[in-house]
Amino acid sequence: MTTDKIDNHYHQQLSALMDGDLPPDEARFLLRRLQHDDELTGCWERWQLCGDVLRGQAQAPAPAGFADRVAAAIAAEAVQPVVQSNTARSSSRLAKWGGGALAASVAVVALFMVRQQIPDETPVATTASTSSPVRANASPNRTASPALQTAAVTVASVAVASVPRQNTSPRRSATRTQQASRPATSSRSPDRAVAVAAAAVPVIHAIASTPANNSATQRNPFSNVQINPPTARPWPRAVTPQYGAGSGAFTAGFSNERATQSFYPFEPRTGETAPIAPSEPVPQDQ
């Protein structure tokens, strides 16, 4: 098939398309071809002009190049048609609130994990997680506990991950004045992203520079239950001033021997405890 025959074929299809008589699959391909075939697009325009002249609707025909000017203005403005259908609006709203819900759920899970690991430091972790990431990173505590670090990293990572999503959906303004000010607005967004990312970096550095033995001494990796030896706690002296200071009369505590005898049934037996001698008789329950 020569080029003329191909062009003739497309022109015949275009004529049928204009009258709504082209089969759907051919119409789909022809519409796609019209996107880049200027000769075919010009033919479409002239045939429409011909129809307008025959119907008497072209009393003032548009000047040549009018459609090109409109296309150039649209391209220069970079405006996307605002689809405000209910489904699109609800989906965008769902995406917006869904991101927030996801971040909140991640923070809650991190808090829950922290609460389970070290109950004593729960108030500190709560404060760190509820504060903004920038505030949490303003004075990084290099001796912070792993729980605090986990919460801070979680919040910081969620904040950093949410920045690109906010930047990729800029608001489309409707007026030319707003469009003229758009470059300045868009130039601020990367700064904000960099600021949040920079705020998150100290947290990561702080955790990376934290001594490894800090966490190793706190947790037994082979046990899922933390066994802390109980420590003696003195009675508040303000309540018992008559007994003087440093007497230790009302000090409550536990014996150290009892702490070492604490036993968790699912923990593997360590080499420090002496194996049970097989020769000794096993005490029988009465």
């Binding site: 002009l49 011909c50 025959l54 072209a58 000047p63 203005a73 649209i74």
Partner: protein
């Protein structure tokens, strides 16, 4: 599959609707086809409100820009041209009010704009060059139609002027639909052969005027 349903047995209005759907999906080339289809009618409509030719072009361009921005609001309840017609009238009136000029009290209805020739006011104030161009266009097209063979002239007239479908034309001319399709295509090709040099000349003149 959506395209299959939407274009199948489509009337020209349904083709418009399909192009609108494509624009709503982000296909700006589909909007370019709509602009090329309705630019002459919109410019003629705005010319009834705004007599200055340069302002008329600017307002027509603004009309299409507004239509593109508001394309997401078009649900397809009315015909696309009716919707575009409303935008053009409002844009022209706002332009007149912004320049402290009183818009005409008699609105041009979309249906009336389709049926009746109410552009006499524009012709009174149009520039001689524009009037000459319009007359030349009409003369060229009518001359090309008159030169067509009888069956081609009948087919293109029934389609473009009367607005009949291919089935109705086939029934009226007592011939297969494929023959109707071929006759209309050949008629358009013959008219385009006469019309194209005129349009290209106008484009070249415009380019020379710009440079």
């Amino acid at each position: 599959m959506t395209d299959v349903v939407s274009i199948h047995e489509a009337s020209p209005q349904e083709l418009d609707l399909e192009l609108v759907r494509r624009v709503q999906r982000g296909d700006s080339a589909a909007f370019d086809l709509l602009v090329r289809k309705y630019q002459h009618r919109i410019v003629a409509l705005i010319g009834r409100y705004i007599h200055d030719w340069s302002e008329c072009q600017d307002v027509a361009q603004d009309t299409f820009m507004r239509a593109y921005r508001a394309m997401g609001n078009f649900r397809g309840d009315a015909q696309f041209y009716t919707w575009l017609h409303r935008i053009a009238v409002n844009t022209a009136k706002n332009h007149l009010l912004a320049h402290k000029r009183r818009p005409p009290t008699d609105d041009v209805d979309a249906a009336d704009a389709e049926q009746y020739d109410t552009g006499s006011r524009l012709r009174d104030t149009d520039t001689p060059e524009r009037e000459l161009m319009r007359q030349e266009l009409e003369r060229t097209v009518m001359k090309a139609v008159d030169a067509l063979p009888e069956e081609l002239r009948t087919a293109i007239t029934l389609r473009e002027v009367e607005g009949l479908s291919y089935e109705e034309i086939a029934a009226k001319m007592q011939c297969p639909i494929g023959t109707v399709r071929s006759r209309i295509f050949r008629a358009r090709e013959a008219i385009d052969t006469e019309l194209r040099p005129l349009v290209d000349t106008e484009s070249a003149t415009r380019e020379r005027a710009r440079t």
